[in-house]
Structures are given as C-alpha cells and as structure tokens.
C-alpha cells in the first residue's frame, strides 16, 4: 500500500492534535558542542543565541572534554568507525572487553555486558534472568525503559509506592511463593532527583530472599564519595546485585549502556538478551571515550566534588530566592510550578534571559506536578550559576511566585 492521502491525513491529524494539546516536543538546535554554555537556534530559523545550559545530563562536564575527544579520535584511527555487526557475530573488539573489565572494577561488580544504550540494557535484562515462576517487584516511578523491559518479561509483576518500604515489604510477602524475587528501582529518580533508600531495600531483600537491581543512570560517576553511584552513597556496594547504567550522561554523554553484576548475569545477557544479540556494537570511538572517562574519574574526584559544591550552591540560591523545590541531594533540582502552562511560559522567558531549561508536565510527570527540572554540571562556573539565579529570580518575580508554596501557586495559576 502506498503512503496514501488517508495515511497522510491521519498522521498530520495526530501531530496537529499534539500541538493543540501543547504536548508537541519542539526541537531546539544546538550549534556547538554540549557544554555549560551552548549556541542554540530556537525557534527554527531564528538567530542563534549563546545560552547557559541547565537541562543537560552532562553532570561531570565531560561531554566535550579534550582528553575524551582525543581518545575517541585515536580509536577512530586505530579501530575504525563502526563494527558493521552485532557483538556475537563479528562485532567485538579488544576495547569492548577492556571497557567491560574496567566498568566492573569501577562499580565493584564481577562482570559487565555492554549494550548500545541503557534503554536496551533495561529492555534486555529482565526477560533474560526472570521467568513466569519469578517475581519482579518494582518501584512505581522507575524509568520508562525499565517499564518497557518489565513488560517484555513474563515474570509476575508487582509494584510498590515510590520509595515506600512498608509497601515494598507487603509486595515481598505477596511474592514469597515465587521461585526468585527481584526488587527493581532507579538509584536516582530522574524527575524528582531523589535517591532510593538502598540500605533499607537491601535489608528487606535479605529478609525476604530477593535480588536487588538498580538503574544508576543518573548516579554513576558522581553520586557517592568516589562517584561509584547510589550503592556507594548508601554504603551497600556489596549488597546490590545488578546495576544498569549509561555512558550517555555523566560518563561522557555519547551513548552506550551496561548491565553489571554477578558474572553469570553478565554472561546470560551476552547469551540471550535480544538487544545485545540484535543491535550493533557500541562504536569504537565511544568505547575509547568511555574508557578515558573511567580513567579520569578513577584518578581524581575533583569533578564529582565540584559538582556537589555547585549543586549545594544552586539549591541554596533558588531556595533563598523563594522557589518551591523538590528536596534532594543530587544535581537534579526540580523547580515546582504545578501548572503546565506556567512551566512552559517560565522556560520560554528564561530562554530569552539566556538560560536554557525545559518545562516538564503530564504525561512526563504526574498530573499537577509540572516543573522545570534544572540539572547542574561540574562544567558550570560560579558566574554561570549566579547569572542563572539572577534570571530565575527576575522571572519568578514577573510571575509572582517567589515565596509561594504549592497551594498558593495552584490557587494563583490552577492545575
């Protein structure tokens, strides 16, 4: 069947519907490397503008680090552009194996299996290690890629209220007749920036004989004293069984993901995980860049320490200005606005002030939880933070929301 006018009208109507509802995701074109300060064309065709970036996952400021870029260049020369294949056929190079070893060491795990992305790691993992006799017991706010992975798995699904240990315990009790149980959580929840109580989760896992799986994509490299992640933060490095994470955020920001854990789990992924078996291998330049990132992070915690200092300064500045923030201890600092239009309007006004942020609203966050999610980077300097704080304060004053709490903002702008 050709692409008929009927099909064209259908898709056009769908897209127009998204625009009418205000949920159409409009791209803004960055004309520079990813960094604290970027050159952006927005809207399309407008004069490009230099703005400060407060919505990237470039937590450690390594996306354009000269040593990382150099390592990637060298790998292009020595290992080529791509493998033209999947790993198990003819797409594994020595540096892939090296990255798996270094990643296992970094996270304190026995083994690692690389994937083209963490989305694919999460899509592949559960179906490989759990069957209908088993139970997956998941926090309700886990990342969409985990939800997709759980849906692909035939194991029995239980979920518990976000970070509620009493509800988790109820679900563990319900799942006691299952053969294996796996508790599944994000380490840092990407929308709220809060950290899962892994110490308490591990206690419950011990009590009810369950494995613990953590997606630490928003933590690896910078959470915990030496940046190992939320298992280090909660002092449970030997008690978390499986960690999935990404090389696409703090660890250089290109792409790629991994499953780390007991060597049998890593090997099961290599043998059976469909995204591993049927997706092309991580490009050599990205592997070499990721290896360089791990080397940088293993030598010094300077970047992680600067990120922590920046985050503390940013959070204190926004609080002093009178914004309503989600409390937390991570570089994800959500400014709560509750009303979707308000979030969009403020994000647009901040762009005109030279600050690049995004409004989030339903269905990305729950109804009535609209916000601007700011993200801090080790690449931010004090003058960046001060300029952004001044801009936020100016725009906050314009909308009369400084010092207002949830009920007052909702009373003023509605939900």
């Amino acid at each position: 069947m050709a692409y008929s006018s009927k099909a064209k009208d259908f898709y056009s109507g769908e897209l127009q519907g998204m625009k009418d509802k205000g949920i159409f995701k409009e791209e803004r074109y960055i004309q520079s490397p990813q960094a604290a300060s970027i050159k952006v064309e927005y809207p399309k065709g407008a004069e490009p503008k230099q703005v400060l970036n407060f919505c990237a996952n470039n937590y450690l400021g390594l996306s354009s680090h000269p040593d990382v870029v150099k390592a990637a260049h060298e790998a292009l020369d020595s290992r080529g552009y791509g493998l033209s294949s999947v790993r198990f056929i003819c797409g594994t190079q020595d540096i892939h194996n090296e990255l798996e070893i270094k990643m296992s060491e970094f996270l304190g795990m026995e083994g690692t299996c690389l994937f083209p992305s963490c989305m694919e790691a999460n899509a592949g993992l559960f179906d490989v290690v759990l069957t209908p006799e088993d139970a997956m017991i998941s926090d309700r706010l886990v990342h969409a890629s985990i939800v997709d992975g759980l849906k692909l798995c035939k194991a029995q699904m239980f979920n518990y209220k976000h970070n509620s240990m009493s509800h988790l315990e109820e679900k563990l009790q319900e799942a006691q007749s299952c053969r294996l149980r796996m508790i599944i959580t994000d380490g840092v929840f990407s929308m709220d920036g809060d950290i899962a109580p892994l110490d308490k989760i591990c206690d419950l896992a011990d009590k009810y004989d369950a494995m613990v799986m953590v997606d630490d994509s928003h933590a690896t490299g910078f959470i915990g004293k030496t940046g190992r992640g939320t298992h280090e933060y909660h002092n449970v490095m030997k008690r978390v069984d499986i960690i999935t994470t990404t090389f696409g955020k703090g660890l250089g920001g290109a792409t790629g993901g991994s499953v780390s854990g007991p060597k049998e789990i890593a090997e099961m992924c290599r043998q059976r995980a469909r995204p591993y078996l049927f997706s092309n291998t991580m490009p050599p330049a990205v592997v070499a860049g990721s290896l360089k990132v791990l080397e940088i992070l293993s030598k010094s915690t300077d970047r992680r320490d600067k990120l922590e200092k920046n985050t503390t300064y940013w959070r204190a500045g926004l609080t002093k200005a009178g914004f309503d923030l989600k409390q937390g201890d991570t570089p994800i600092v959500p400014v709560m606005l509750y009303n979707a239009k308000l979030a969009q309007d403020i994000a647009r006004d901040l762009y005109h002030e030279g600050i690049y942020v995004t409004g989030f609203f339903f269905p990305v966050v729950a109804q009535g939880q609209a916000r601007i999610r700011t993200q801090i980077s080790a690449g931010h300097e004090m003058e960046h933070l001060d300029k952004a704080l001044a801009a936020f304060t100016k725009i906050g004053q314009k909308y009369g929301i400084l010092g207002l709490k949830k009920d007052e903002i909702i009373a003023k702008y509605g939900l």
Partner: protein, 85 residues
C-alpha cells in the same frame, strides 16, 4: 452487591495507589487513568488484582486505559468477563 464491590475496588485503589497522606477523593466516577491516580504501569497490578479477586481472565486487548478509567468502567469490564457483581 454491586455497591459493595464498588466500595471494595475504591478501597483497593486508595490503599494501593494513593500516598498515605493523600487527601484525594476516589468515587465511582473518578478518573483513574487520565487523572494520573493509576498510571499505565500500575494498570498491570490492578488487572492482576481484579483477575485474582473475581477468578476471571481479562484479555489484554480489553484491558485498555479507557476500560480502567473509573470504577464504573471497571465494573462493566469485569461483568463482561463473567464476574458476579
């Protein structure tokens, strides 16, 4: 009988999906999915609960967000698949 079942489902939704400190009201016509009380992920556990409670099987193609969007809709759905309500 139907009122008792409605009450039972409402209690389950409140206990299972609302925060302990939530003062949100759930009635038989409250929007569950489109209001965000029950997200698409949690629909799976709601479906499992209904299947176990009423000893029925709800086919995936019928377990749509619309069918789960209120307690009234849920009652219609489970009646269709043989629940005695």
């Amino acid at each position: 009988m139907s009122d008792e079942i409605k009450k039972m489902i409402i209690e389950y939704v409140k206990k299972e999906y609302l925060d302990e400190d939530s003062d949100q009201e759930v009635k038989e016509d409250t929007k569950l999915i489109s209001s965000g009380i029950v997200d698409s992920f949690s629909m799976v556990s709601l479906k499992t609960y209904l299947e176990k409670k009423f000893s029925i099987k709800l086919p995936d193609e019928d377990a749509t967000p619309e069918a789960f969007d209120s307690v009234n809709n849920i009652i219609e759905l489970i009646k269709k698949f043989g629940a005695k309500v």
